[in-house]
């Protein structure tokens, strides 16, 4: 076996085979089948258009996208401020703050939903505070604001980590060069920091958007009056056994999230790695 010979290729094939077989059997073929199932309903391929033609689905789609876009925007702003601050400064307690900010990384959506209920549900802290302050109980959890806060909750940790990693790689000599050239802190942020963070922001923004669009657990727990797309799919599947529509909608959802990530990667270069 020369290390670039045919035998070597065979060996590499054998090493790849288990993963390839697993992936084929438990994702690629099932997914291909799902695409077929989506077209198997009374509408045929039309099911794939129903997300645009059916008023209910379209509303849900718009809600999902607008919500996700807002969450992405807010997350980017918040994470940039906090992430750059934590990367630039060393002070006692910094690593504790960092740990706190990254814990929710592995919380399932259901837990995030529950935490939002505790924060601003009917018996939530915000409700108690506002009642004490104004006499009026503010309950956000079961509305669009609740979803927004929940999505924000699971998005911030991911984006903060990406921003910090990118800021760490930022060549500090660039900042120093700008300072020697007389740039103010704000100008430095505008001319040096943000351009350098650009690719990281595009990629983490895309991940944030894609994750929000596909998020299911949070909406599930909050059981809001707004039906985001994943909830819609879940309801079609479980409550109405409308399997072709559920299949078609989830394929559309998958294509959208994949496309957003692929687009971000073509813009930001190969830095878009999907976070959990």
């Amino acid at each position: 076996m020369s290390m670039d010979g045919r035998k070597h290729t065979l060996l590499l094939g054998a090493l790849m085979a288990p993963a390839a077989a697993f992936f084929l059997a438990f994702w690629l073929l099932p997914m291909a089948r799902l695409v077929g199932v989506g077209a198997s309903g009374p509408q045929g391929m039309g099911a794939y258009w129903s997300v645009l033609t059916n008023q209910n689905y379209l509303t849900s789609l718009i809600y999902t996208f607008v919500l996700s876009a807002l969450v992405t925007l807010a997350t980017l702003v918040i994470s940039c401020i906090a992430g750059l601050f934590l990367e630039r400064n060393r002070f006692p307690g910094r690593s504790l703050l960092l740990a706190v900010l990254t814990f929710p990384l592995a919380f399932p959506g259901v837990v995030v939903g529950f935490l939002i209920i505790l924060l601003c549900g009917r018996q939530g802290l915000i409700g108690d505070l506002t009642k004490w302050l104004t006499g009026e109980k503010l309950v956000l959890a079961y509305s669009l604001s609740g979803l927004f806060l929940g999505y924000l909750y699971f998005s911030i940790p991911r984006v903060i980590l990406t921003v910090m990693a990118a800021a760490e790689k930022l060549d500090y000599a660039l900042v120093e060069a700008a300072r020697t050239l007389g740039a103010s802190p704000l100008q430095i942020v505008r001319d040096v920091t943000l351009p350098a963070l650009g690719p990281a922001l595009v990629s983490s923004g895309a991940i944030c958007f894609a994750t929000s669009v596909g998020a299911f657990g949070t909406a599930f727990t909050l059981a809001t009056n707004i039906t985001v797309l994943p909830m819609l799919i879940y309801n079609e599947f479980t409550n109405y056994a409308n399997i072709p529509v559920a299949a078609a909608l989830s394929v559309v959802l998958g294509v959208v999230t994949w496309a957003v990530l692929a687009l971000a990667r073509s813009v930001a270069g190969n830095t878009v790695t999907v976070a959990a």
Partner: protein, 346 residues
């Protein structure tokens, strides 16, 4: 070490899957026990050739590699019994110095006791006995390269392959390690193939030097042949510095300025004359010399390099060991010994 072997490379070329032609089809004979240096700029194919001999790459169809009379073309590296020293050292970070040196012996299932003796012998040879239990990241660059050398020699290879072993080291260390390697190779009488882009290293180490360029072998010869009788302008330029002098040939005499030298009988028609900087002598009179103006001087310690404008575009380089003032803008007269004149096809 009697296991050393002669090596024949027959009709070997290398094309990578992406179509890059790394090595044109070449033939090369390596004599048993000699140190052969493959010299050339990066991308000239020297490393591809070395890796082919190691078995890390296979030649294009039709190429064959013989160790002695044994055809090893189809053999993987692990059965060829070669020793290789990598530019990046490639020492196993998960093993100690001794474990690195003993790795090949362990693979060969040498009994523990003999293995330990051999490792000790090797470490003594490279003067690292005291560091045998160290981890690799606790060693300096020079020490790492010596461990790599000991590891490659420990298995008594049929040929020792060295891929730019000194490139990653600083200049001073490079020089002392070069001497060490030379001593080691002489003592061991081992067949060695040494890849480098550093002509000084090639001169110092090689019994023979193979100069390569653009995937082709340009010249094979002893260091003196390569230096004094380069096969073409590329070799002359790559091995040391050289001046091109423009002159006229008439009636068997080459004239440049006031200099007139006999045109060698075997010189090619329209040949280019080249002279090395140290072969240009400073004279006191213009008669029989090429005259020019001194435009720059650099004191280099053991010699002084002068730049002389003789009105031929690029300044002429002159190396002299004379001590003098060398006033700028002064007139300089250069003499050429006919024996040092290199005439190459244009």
């Amino acid at each position: 070490m009697s296991t050393s072997t002669a090596i024949s490379i027959l009709q070997c070329g290398k094309t990578y899957p992406n179509g890059t032609r790394a090595l044109e089809t070449v033939d090369l004979e390596v004599v048993s026990g000699e140190t052969l240096v493959l010299l050339g700029p990066s991308g000239c194919g020297k490393t591809s050739l070395l890796r082919m001999i190691a078995g890390l790459e296979s030649p294009d169809a039709g190429g064959r590699i013989l160790f002695g009379s044994e055809d090893v073309t189809a053999q993987p590296p692990e059965t060829r019994n070669v020793g290789m020293v990598f530019q990046s050292y490639a020492l196993f970070p998960n093993m100690t110095v001794a474990q690195n040196v003993g790795y090949g012996l362990r693979i060969r299932r040498l009994p523990e006791e003999r293995r330990r003796a051999r490792v000790a012998e090797m470490l003594e040879m490279v003067q690292l006995s005291a560091l045998s239990a160290r981890r690799i990241d606790q060693l300096s660059g020079g020490q790492r390269q010596r461990v790599a050398l000991a590891r490659a020699i420990a298995v008594t290879p049929r040929v020792l392959l060295l891929d730019e072993p000194l490139t990653a080291l600083d200049a001073k260390l490079r020089e002392s390690l070069r001497v060490d390697i030379d001593t080691l190779l002489r003592k061991a009488g081992i067949t060695a193939i040494y890849v480098t882009h550093d002509q000084a290293e090639a001169m110092a180490l090689g019994d023979r030097i193979v100069v390569m360029d653009h995937g082709e072998i340009v010249q094979i010869g002893s260091p003196t042949q390569i230096y004094h009788a380069p096969a073409n302008a590329f070799v002359a330029d790559f091995v040391g510095s050289v001046n091109r002098l423009q002159g006229n040939v008439q009636d068997g005499v080459w004239r440049c300025g006031n200099a007139a030298l006999p045109w060698p009988a075997d010189a090619p028609v329209g040949g280019v004359v080249m002279v090395r900087p140290e072969d240009l002598r400073l004279g006191h009179e213009a008669a029989g010399a090429i005259s020019g103006t001194l435009t720059a001087r650099y004191f280099l310690g053991n010699r002084t390099r002068l730049l002389v404008d003789i009105g031929q575009g690029a300044p002429v380089l002159v190396d002299t060991s004379e001590r003098g003032e060398f006033a700028l803008a002064s007139q300089v007269h250069l003499r050429i010994d006919p024996a040092t004149m290199i005439v190459l096809p244009a």
